[in-house]
């Protein structure tokens, strides 16, 4: 019954544990802790009743108040010493707004912690995928040139982050939600700046001020909610919602867009890619940014009419334009980042539609996206550390020396775009549920077109990268293969297993009929291999056709040049849409 509380509290304890000790001790402690967390989240998923409500004693709110004040002052101070005006400005605005919130006292009280099925699913993602990434980080961080203390601090911070994430998906109090939102911003800020070089610091400050916009939005939502609805609890707000006064909802949605790095807030997530790869994996693709679709799922019952349509359109627009922008990038992690932004947009759109099917699709997408992106980021880290590659231009013919990495990358990309994987099923269901909405409101045709184009662009993007890996030299032999440390490969294999389990579950859920999925894949896998064993021995190996010339082909990557005007236009549309979301609600 109390597993949620344990899930929230225990990572804090583990974080203290891993601070001490040498590499071996730390690794053993961390791996054990991760497995405990994984086990707990699984137990919680199967044992939890539909909803679990826990009330925190009122006195403890003062602790939250204290942490929050310290945090906001810390942001202000950081802005001051780093001489960043925007950070200072937003920190000040937040301090003012927060004091207003404290001053107002609402009367309608509910429970502080509310754990429902969606929260349990989020626990699974946070602890299992996050845990695997922490195991990976144990190996990764040893390759960096830092003191032992700082390395341990890194691992401790990741555990601390897990605790925050577990808390944020179980809270029902918007004020606590605000505090945790700011704490994730803090984690993001500290971890991006972890390497302490100039670019990292710049990008961390960018992440800080952009995320603070989200904080401001939540505070405004809080004030409006207290004034209008006399509450600061999600469930009361949602059940008492008045359709003609959706301002708190749309403000919270903007906070979600900020956290989900939707256009126009996409710059912070792209900047965040300078952080160590486990950070990119855990914060900026697998778990933290998932707050955005989670919040949307939570708010979906309260959305209707204008807000719902606008958010769906913004989400699908982000899906389309982020995947378009990704086509011109060549930094591997940046490509992954943009595709994360795109898929987050899709998730938010799906969450907003709110029909049962769309919600299911959203959850499936959240789960599979977390696993696949974690897998891909791990490979990005391996490429960086083992093969010393960062740009897709250089990954030519990787299959010749790192077939395992290529295998994982291909699986990762395939699981984001192809059947039988969940992300595909989700996209499939997305089109189906939007097609349903078109009959009610023709403007959803636009959303449909965005999804259709976006999914094609994403497929194009993934396979543009994948094709690059494949160009095999026929004469390569096994000796050229590169050794990859165990701490890198084991997490990848773990994620692969989760992916398979995911497929199994999605088959059990019968999202698509089983024969539709199984039959083709058995055929596609078996027939060519049978054929291969029969014929390949007898076949002669020849050269490629180069019009009779003997020269070898030099391979290079192709990019799709997207003019700056388009990029600006996309950003502009994003800003206009955000303004419209707020103004539209007020005017109505």
């Amino acid at each position: 019954m109390l597993t949620p509380i344990v899930l929230i509290a225990s990572p804090l304890f583990f974080a203290l544990l891993v601070r001490v000790g040498g590499v071996m001790v730390r690794n053993v402690v961390a791996i054990l802790s991760v497995f405990i967390l994984m086990g707990l989240s699984v137990v919680n998923f199967f044992s939890l009743p539909n909803t679990l409500e826990i009330s925190i004693p009122h006195q403890s709110h003062y602790i939250f108040l204290f942490i929050d004040s310290v945090l906001l002052l810390y942001f202000l101070w950081q802005g001051f010493i780093k001489k960043h005006k925007l950070v200072m400005l937003f920190a000040l605005v937040q301090i003012i707004l927060y004091s207003i919130v404290i001053y107002l006292s609402p009367t309608l009280i509910s429970n502080d912690i509310l754990v429902d099925k969606i929260s349990s699913v989020m626990y699974l993602i946070i602890n299992i995928v996050g845990g695997v990434i922490i195991i990976y980080a144990l190996g990764y961080i040893e390759e960096e040139n830092f003191s032992r203390c700082k390395k341990n601090k890194f691992i401790a911070m990741l555990f601390f982050f897990l605790s925050i994430m577990n808390f944020i998906v179980s809270t029902n109090n918007i004020e606590i939600f605000f505090l945790l939102f700011e704490l994730t911003t803090l984690c993001s800020y500290l971890l991006i700046a972890y390497r302490e070089d100039e670019v990292s610091v710049q990008n961390s400050l960018k992440a800080l001020w952009m995320n603070q916009i989200g904080g401001v939005a939540i505070l405004l939502a809080l004030i409006v909610s207290i004034v209008q609805y006399d509450t600061l609890y999600f469930d009361i707000l949602i059940s008492n919602i008045d359709e003609s006064y959706l301002l708190p909802i749309s403000l919270l949605a903007i906070a979600a867009f900020v956290k989900g790095a939707s256009i126009p807030f996409d710059k912070w997530l792209l900047g965040a890619m300078v952080a160590p790869t486990p950070v990119s994996a855990i914060l900026h693709s697998a778990t933290m940014v998932k707050i955005a679709p989670y919040l949307m799922l939570k708010l979906a019952p309260a959305m209707s009419g204008f807000v719902s349509v606008t958010i769906t359109l913004i989400g699908t627009f982000v899906f389309f334009s982020a995947s378009l922008l990704a086509l011109s990038k060549d930094y591997f992690k940046e490509i992954l980042g943009l595709s994360t932004i795109a898929l987050l947009g899709l998730m938010m759109a799906l969450a907003t539609i709110g029909s049962e099917e769309a919600t299911k699709a959203c959850l499936v997408l959240i789960v599979f996206h977390a696993i696949s992106k974690a897998l891909l980021f791990l490979q990005a880290g391996i490429l960086e550390k083992v093969n010393h590659l960062k740009y897709i231009d250089d990954i030519n013919g990787l299959i010749n020396h790192s077939p395992l990495v290529v295998f994982f990358i291909v699986i990762g990309f395939a699981s984001l775009s192809l059947p039988p994987f969940g992300a595909f099923i989700a996209k499939f269901m997305a089109i189906e549920s939007i097609a349903n909405e078109i009959t009610a409101n023709p403007i959803y045709v636009l959303a449909l077109i965005f999804i259709a184009l976006g999914s094609v662009f994403l497929t194009l993007l993934y396979f543009k990268v994948v094709t690059k890996l494949f160009a095999k030299d026929v004469n390569s032999s096994k000796e050229e293969h590169q050794e990859i440390p165990k701490l890198y490969t084991i997490p990848s294999f773990l994620l692969l297993i989760f992916l398979v389990i995911g497929i199994y579950i999605s088959l059990e859920m019968e999202l698509l009929s089983n024969s539709e999925i199984i039959v083709p894949f058995v055929l596609i896998a078996v027939v060519p291999l049978l054929f291969a064993t029969l014929v390949f021995k007898k076949a002669h190996r020849v050269k490629e056709y180069h019009c009779g010339e003997k020269d070898e082909l030099q391979l290079s990557m192709y990019y799709f040049d997207i003019p700056e005007v388009y990029e600006k236009a996309i950003g502009g549309v994003g800003v206009v849409a955000m303004v419209l979301l707020v103004v539209g609600v007020i005017v109505k």
């Binding site: 078109i438 009959t439 497929t459 494949f470 026929v474 070898e552």
Partner: protein, 274 residues
């Protein structure tokens, strides 16, 4: 039972259509043209050739392309989910593209690249087509679509957009830049030979079956109309093929996306008002 037989002989049907098309094309150019069974003669010959391969991945991906396409056709005939069929068809194209990129050959790379670009052009239209059918029938199931009366009038604009997709998929002028036989020697198919080329050759026939089966969905339960549509579009496609010149790949994307998306959007918005 009948359906199972049709699934198994689907490549043969495709081969006959292809053979017939070569005859029709020749007659349009005032030639005699090859015999009707020419594709099968080619096939017999290709089995008998010495097999040459560049690398195993390349050949396996080519076969996977064929198998996937056959599954796609089978699913249409068996009346499965239309949207799923379209995505599976995308998968088959991706196998072909991967095959094209897996060898270090210039023409193969150019061809695969163009194939990828043409996917951008036609895939959204196919998805919109599926949604159009969904709006009328309330289901993506092909068996349901086949049981309802003809839908070509409600989906007329999407039908026009689909005509362009046919030209791309069957590699007919003006939208044949993906294959462009005189220019890049067939693009992706260039490095396949012997038995392996045969799979690609048969995949081409299956592509015929695929597009004409999709076309027949417009006719719903009316078999005569379906056949009439097939004959009419068949001649139209070949006439356009013989009468026009090839356009560049970037123009192809622009033209097809602009016209296709506009038509599709008009049609879907119209349908939602009806």
């Amino acid at each position: 039972m009948l359906e199972a037989v049709v699934v198994i002989i689907a490549p043969i049907i495709g081969g006959l259509i292809y053979g017939f098309e070569r005859v029709v094309c020749a007659r349009m150019q005032n030639r005699q043209g090859p015999p009707l069974l020419q594709p099968f003669y080619d096939m017999g010959k290709l089995i008998d050739k010495q097999a040459l391969i560049i690398n195993p991945y390349h050949s396996i991906l080519g076969i996977m392309h064929f198998v996937t396409l056959w599954v796609v056709v089978a699913f249409i005939i068996l009346g499965q989910n239309l949207l799923y069929v379209i995505f599976l068809h995308l998968l088959s194209s991706i196998f072909l593209i991967l095959a094209g990129f897996s060898v270090k050959s210039i023409f193969s790379h150019i061809g695969a690249n163009r194939e990828l670009m043409s996917v951008i052009a036609y895939e959204p239209i196919l998805i919109m087509l599926a949604v159009g059918f969904y709006l009328i029938n309330g289901s993506f199931d092909i068996s349901v679509i086949r049981d309802n009366p003809p839908q070509i009038l409600q989906l007329f604009f999407l039908f026009l957009a689909f005509l362009m997709v046919i030209q791309i998929k069957l590699k007919k002028s003006p939208f044949d830049a993906t294959e462009a036989h005189q220019e890049i020697v067939g693009g992706v198919e260039i490095e396949f030979s012997g038995v392996f080329f045969e799979f690609l050759y048969m995949a081409k026939w299956l592509e015929y079956v695929f597009v004409y089966l999709l076309l027949s969905l417009f006719a719903g339960d009316n078999l005569a109309l379906g056949f009439g549509l097939f004959i009419g579009v068949f001649f139209l496609v070949n006439l356009v093929d013989n009468a026009t010149a090839r356009i560049k790949i970037n123009h192809l994307i622009k033209i097809v996306l602009m016209i296709g998306l506009t038509f599709g959007m008009l049609n879907l918005v119209g349908l939602s008002y009806v």
